[in-house]
């Protein structure tokens, strides 16, 4: 005995009408004049939004430069930012909207590897270019010819760090954040250390919103380790671990990956001396420095995730270069990208793999925090 409530039906009709009206009013067509649109998929809300902001800011900075230099053939380039929420399903919806409704030809995204895995099955059949500036999961390399990335796979950081650490230290501890990013590095790190003949005596992970690491630190202390790899994705977590470790009297050498932003470096005195594995650019070379100066000018602060800002900035420039040179035919763009060699980007000089979504030739370097600043570290 269900009463069909008429009011309810009108609600539904009303919502559907509003939606349809809005969609058709805002529908982007591919016109020959008017701005060129590129899509961006990144987590704009939720826990990962701190990285999403970095991606968005990097893209916006690049577009500012491009547009003040005249755009592409007189047309400005605009970005349509969609929220991927660091989630495969939402990234798929975002990709579907960008491809179908906005009709973009290229997308900078996903940021989280999950977003890339969700978006690729949508973009690839539609032959839309998906260029990820942050996804690091090894399996992204299997996503096919229309997906690209300029962020190195987890394998690289894990292996390089493992090589150095196992050559100098005997008792190694690793604390990892429970994200795809950090877990990927963790597995390659541990395998590489084992292969080098050393051993990891402590291997635990924590959920991203953990602030209290004291018991993990106590466990590490009881083992007397001499090297601690703080495998965190969030700079603040890493700085907490460092602080709580020193507070409890651990004297081991700290290591992190890519955390050169103020959120870690300027957090507290306990991070002093940490060795950081990093991309070559963004610290010492001209182009990287210029990017950081522009960022500070536009956003009034230093970026916390320089790496993501840099790769997203590069990705935008690379994509717009491609459009400028070969137009918006995506099979031509794909060919252009696959043959991109020795691109001098803000994070360093690198090439794109001729077949797979991978970056080639980006050597990683070691840096260290000395007197509160990040300087090069000579091994």
């Amino acid at each position: 005995m269900e009463q069909t409530n008429n009011k309810g039906i009108w609600w539904v009709v009303g919502i559907i009408v509003v939606v349809l009206v809005v969609i058709f009013a805002f529908r982007g067509g591919s016109k020959e004049t008017g701005p060129i649109k590129i899509g961006v998929i990144a987590p704009l809300t939720g826990d990962a939004s701190v990285y999403g902001e970095a991606v968005r800011n990097g893209v916006a900075l690049a577009l500012d430069e491009i547009n003040s230099a005249g755009g592409v053939g007189g047309r400005t380039v605009e970005a349509i930012y969609e929220d991927g929420k660091c989630n495969g399903k939402d990234a798929a919806s975002a990709a579907q909207k960008l491809v179908d409704i906005d009709k973009v030809k290229v997308i900078v995204g996903g940021m989280c590897s999950g977003e890339t895995f969700g978006a690729a099955p949508v973009t690839t059949p539609a032959k839309v270019i998906l260029f990820s500036s942050v996804s690091s999961a090894a399996k992204v390399s299997t996503l096919g010819g229309y997906v690209f990335r300029n962020h190195p796979s987890d394998n690289l950081a894990g292996q390089e760090l493992a090589k150095y650490i196992s050559s100098k230290y005997k008792k190694i501890a690793i604390v990892s954040e429970q994200t795809d990013y950090a877990q990927g590095i963790r597995t390659t790190f541990i395998d590489a250390v084992k292969a080098d003949g050393s051993s990891v005596v402590f291997d635990e992970s924590y959920v991203s919103n953990t602030k209290d690491f004291r018991s993990i630190v106590s466990k590490i202390k009881s083992l007397g380790v001499d090297a601690l790899f703080i495998n965190a994705q969030v700079g603040s977590n890493a700085s907490q671990i460092a602080k709580q470790a020193r507070e409890q009297g651990i004297n081991a050498q700290f290591f992190t990956a890519y955390l050169t932003g103020p959120e870690f470096v300027k957090a507290n005195p306990e991070v002093e001396g940490t060795i950081i594995i990093d991309v070559p650019g963004l610290s010492t070379d001209v182009k990287g420095q210029q990017l950081l100066t522009e960022y500070k000018a536009k956003y009034n602060s230093e970026p916390n995730y320089k790496f993501f800002v840099g790769t997203s900035y590069d990705a935008t420039h690379i994509l717009v270069d491609a459009i400028t040179k070969v137009g918006q035919d995506t099979s031509k763009i794909a060919n252009y990208l696959h043959s991109l060699k020795n691109y001098s980007g803000s994070i360093g000089t690198y090439s794109l793999d001729p077949e797979k979504p991978d970056v080639v030739g980006l050597g990683l370097v070691f840096r260290q925090i000395k007197n509160g600043e990040v300087v090069d570290f000579i091994k």
């Binding site: 269900e2 409530n5 660091c86 495969g88 399903k89 179908d100 590897s113």
Partner: protein, 288 residues
């Protein structure tokens, strides 16, 4: 029109989830906030069976339902010891525990790395990778679930459920074994949610733990509250509204750096306003 097909598929999947939860919450009055756990078990079962063993999708749905059925029997049994608010809290707890397992049992689930590359269904040579065909599959299943729900709730079994919702002690006096009824509907609801999970896994071709956290259970609850508890049409209506809402908000021109947050504000305000002015939901017969 692919975008609309995509939205329709999501509406279909969430309709199945809403219908499944409605049986437990709307008809039987058990405030269960753990449906995402069963959704996830179905999804991961399909994901693992398809990627590691190349099993047929439809067979994986059945396996998923069996595994979910067994686990939900255990969970439901423990939960049946609680009542009212404590039932809800306990179910919260189970959701978080199951989520922890998805996240930390890395040898099985690859943890936060998730499982990519799940293939689309294939049946008698009919390939479902065309979204339109997948949509038809989802609609068929959703309609099936709808009629099953209607059948259950209109039967004498359903009447007992409603009686439990109204006054469990009273009906116990009449000799009904309420534990049996509560457990049965809990397990049925869980198994239906598992089907939705299998569909989800194959459609998106990727699963990771974040899709099955507590917030997802809360979302499904919000759907049936919006649509109206104990009303199957309401469950579907709620799914339509809450799936379309964030997508529609994509088109409203908020300035890009706060757009996403503004959507959250809108979503939150809608919940508050609904509770203040129309708590029985859109089509509800059962006033909360």
């Amino acid at each position: 029109m692919d975008y609309f097909v995509h939205i329709a598929i999501l509406i279909g999947i969430y309709s199945i989830l809403a219908l499944s939860l409605n049986l437990i919450v709307g008809y039987t009055g058990l405030l269960s906030i753990t449906q995402a756990a069963f959704y996830g078990i179905g999804a991961y079962t399909t994901a693992i069976l398809l990627t590691a063993f190349g099993m047929n999708f439809f067979l994986s749905i059945v396996v998923g339902m069996i595994i979910t059925g067994i686990l939900s029997l255990a969970i439901g049994y423990v939960l049946s010891k609680f009542d009212g608010d404590y039932f809800a809290l306990g179910s919260f707890g189970f959701n978080i525990i199951v989520y922890s397992i998805f996240l930390n049992w890395q040898s099985l689930t690859r943890g936060p790395l998730g499982i990519p590359g799940i293939s689309k269904p294939v049946l008698f040579g009919l390939d479902f990778s065309d979204n339109l065909i997948f949509l038809i599959l989802v609609i068929v299943l959703a309609v099936g679930v709808y009629f099953i729900s209607q059948f259950i709730t209109r039967s004498s079994f359903g009447r007992v459920l409603k009686a439990i919702r109204e006054d469990e002690k009273a009906i116990k006096v009449f000799g009904y074994n309420t534990l049996f009824f509560k457990l049965t509907i809990f397990v049925i609801g869980a198994m239906i949610a598992s089907v939705a999970g299998s569909l989800f896994a194959s459609y998106i071709t990727y699963v990771d733990p974040t899709s099955f956290a507590l917030s997802e259970s809360i979302f499904i609850l919000a759907i049936i509250i919006l649509g109206g508890l104990a009303n199957n049409k309401g469950a579907v209506l709620g799914a339509i509204c809450l799936v379309i809402l964030p997508e529609a908000l994509r088109f409203v021109g908020f300035p890009s750096d706060i757009a996403a947050q503004m959507r959250q504000v809108t979503y939150g305000l809608i919940l508050i306003v609904l509770m203040l002015y129309r708590p029985q939901g859109l089509l509800g017969e059962y006033k909360l």
